[in-house]
Amino acid sequence: MGFIQTWLPYILAGVAVGGQYALIAIGYTMVYGILRLINFAHGDVFMWSGLIMVYLITILPLWLSVILVIIFAIVLGTTIEKVAYRPLRSAPRMSIMISAIGVSYLLQNFALYITGGLTKTYPTIGWLQRTVSIGSATTKMVTLVTPVLTIVLVFLLVMLIKHTKIGMAMRAVSRDFETSSLMGIDIDRVITVTFVIGCALAAIGSILYFSNYTGIQPMSGAMPGLKAFVAAVFGGIGSVPGAVVGAFVIGVAENLIKGIGWTNFSDAFTFVLLIIILMVKPTGLFGEKNIDKV
């Protein structure tokens, strides 16, 4: 009892932030699964979704803002893919990664320009920020909503991937890019759909995340983005359930580490975990073997 009482706040916080990482991580893992690209700009799409919400809510009703934010994220993500990644698809891997880093640099600097470097306060969305008490812990409503919503969304996504035609095409493309295109699968469409799903989830993630941590500045996307990527690697890149499990593990572990008092290394821990997993089991928890043809 004492144990639970002491650690409940940390676990709750960890589960909540884990769910938010999970929603971002799905975007990473799906894009990586198909394009073999670490989409460095994904964290910044997440940040921009939050920023747009700040501006939209001042002029539009809540429900419309939420819808528009999701649409905005989708448009931004697919535009990035079309402009910055598609022309380089046949270029060396390094070029696409550099392009991704460049896009991330651009999005951050543009946000800096728009906000003037000032932290924007995220609006209160419905009852998400209301305070609730559970046992010894007091927390925000969003903390409880996040894991539930995350799991529902992931379930829907897994269903989509398993049972629809586009889902099958996605699986095929992530297995073998070239063969799939020879088989007549419209690769561009599959990639676009992947970005649409990833960005929509990131937008939802941004609503939850920023309702919990209500300040947005240009670098707000960078750290959650990196952590979500680590979560995706941890769970096995390309695997949606893996990314979700990874995200929850990282979220909870990070908060427990802060709870023990090793606060200096709470971020570093994420990277330590990444390196350990890459050394010990490069394919992650649920990942499949990555095969190169000689």
């Binding site: 390094m94 070029s95 460049g102 390196i275 095969i291 043809k293």
Partner: protein
């Protein structure tokens, strides 16, 4: 038109050019008053040469060995701290390590040697910790390299990025305060007196990198970049050579970190973050991945524009143009857009993979009038070619559309276009696991 100079002439030319540059920098730094704009040029040359070195070291990894590493800022951090920690004069310790009772290390190499050897000892005292910084970084890199270099391209990138972040957290750790001063700045350490110092040191280091690249080991690195499997089949030990390249690159990153510490006169760990690594990477990209000349040009171009010439974009007025758009931050937006344009349309950067040589320079210079004259005609030809290409593309598109329509019709009529994919368990691609 092609004319080649003999090697002796080239050597003389190179030495003369370098000597002239050094003299200009030396005299410039000594005579130009601080409030002159030309002083800013000297400052840019100082910082530019430091970033040229770190960009060249990153290019050795990314451009010549094909290892996509993003740990450069972390290595610079170690280099900067190592240099600073060992050259803070004894009497300044109390002030610098104000929260840590003067710190653990109470002496300065510079002071010790200066006491024994005079002015000569002063410079030796600066070189020892600088080289030591490089060596320490090399050792750290060697340790990091053992696990990390077995990873493939993008995993390697993210793992090195991770290590750099861990290093930063480590240096800011309060428990190490007596050595690293924790979160507080280190200052008062010995710095150079004239801008010629970083230019000279960077120049020597870059020359060594160039020599390495042109040696048989450099050839092996490039072989690994071009084709790992073939390189292995040629008897090149992948891990050994990757580790070698990683360690050497890190050594020079460490040196440049030490130089940066001297340039800044104060250091803290905060700025050595991923953004700094990205900036170094962008310098390499602007200059051309696989060209040391490019990295040098890129560094000066990047530093001079981002920290000097484009500043007006933030202040509302630049080159006489003023606009409401020019608010703080505009400079960086413009910069990021330029970088994206380079990445997308000039993927090879300024130099591609070519290097500077006197022959091509002289030929370029000789052909310049002719080329300039021919330029309008060439442009015209290019634009017509572009138009034709566009027309061809449009035709192809129309054709594809037709084919698609045909396919749709077929599908509508119930014909099978292709056999469905087998379920996942039956698909198997041969290959090797990451070794």
């Amino acid at each position: 038109m092609e004319k080649t100079l003999n090697n002796k002439t080239k050597l003389v030319l190179s030495i003369a050019a370098i000597a002239l540059l050094l003299i200009l920098v030396y005299v410039g730094d000594n005579t130009i008053p601080a409030n002159s704009s030309w002083k800013m040029l000297i400052t840019v040359i100082e910082k530019g040469s430091i970033f040229a070195l770190v960009a060249a070291s990153m290019n050795l990894l990314n451009g010549f060995t094909g290892l996509f590493s993003l740990g450069q800022a972390g290595f610079m951090l170690i280099g900067a701290y190592t240099y600073a920690i060992f050259t803070i004069p004894g009497k300044s310790h109390e002030a610098v390590y104000q929260y840590f009772d003067g710190g653990l290390i109470q002496w300065s190499i510079v002071e010790i040697l200066e006491g024994k050897l005079g002015v000569f000892g002063h410079y030796i005292g600066m070189f020892i910790p600088m080289i030591g910084a490089g060596l320490l970084v090399a050792v750290v890199a060697a340790l990091i390299g053992i696990p990390v270099l077995r990873l493939k391209s993008d995993y390697l990138a993210i793992a090195t990025l991770g290590f750099a972040e861990i290093l930063r957290a480590f240096f800011q750790w309060n428990s190490l305060g007596p050595i690293t001063n924790g979160s507080n700045v280190l200052r008062k350490y010995t710095t150079y007196g004239n801008a010629i110092f970083p230019v000279l040191v960077s120049g020597i280091c870059i020359a060594i990198i160039v020599l390495l690249i042109n040696s048989t080991y450099g050839r092996a690195f490039r072989a690994i970049r071009d084709d790992e499997i073939a390189a292995e089949a040629m008897g090149i030990n992948l891990f050994k050579h990757k580790e070698m390249s990683f360690v050497i690159s890190s050594f020079f990153a460490g040196i440049s970190g030490a130089l940066l510490a001297m340039f800044q006169t104060t250091i803290n760990a905060m700025p050595f973050n991923t953004v700094m690594t990205y900036e170094i990477l962008l310098i390499v990209v602007i200059g051309g991945i696989g060209s040391i000349t490019g990295s040098i040009l890129g560094a000066f171009l990047f530093i001079s524009t981002s920290e000097w010439l484009l500043r007006g974009l933030d202040a509302g007025k630049w080159l006489g143009i003023s606009s409401n758009l020019m608010r703080p931050g505009f400079r960086k937006v413009v910069f990021a857009i330029i970088i994206m344009l380079i990445v997308l349309f000039y993927a090879q950067g300024i130099m591609g993979s070519r290097e500077f040589s006197w022959d091509s320079f002289i030929n370029w210079w000789k052909n310049l009038p002719a080329n300039l004259k021919a330029w309008p005609a060439k442009r015209k030809a290019k634009s017509t070619a572009k138009k034709e290409a566009r027309a061809r593309k449009a035709a192809a598109k129309a054709k594809a559309k037709e084919a698609k329509a045909e396919g749709e019709a077929k599908r509508a009529s119930g014909e099978a276009l292709f056999t469905p994919l087998p379920t996942s368990d039956e698909v198997m691609v041969f290959g090797k696991e990451g070794k």
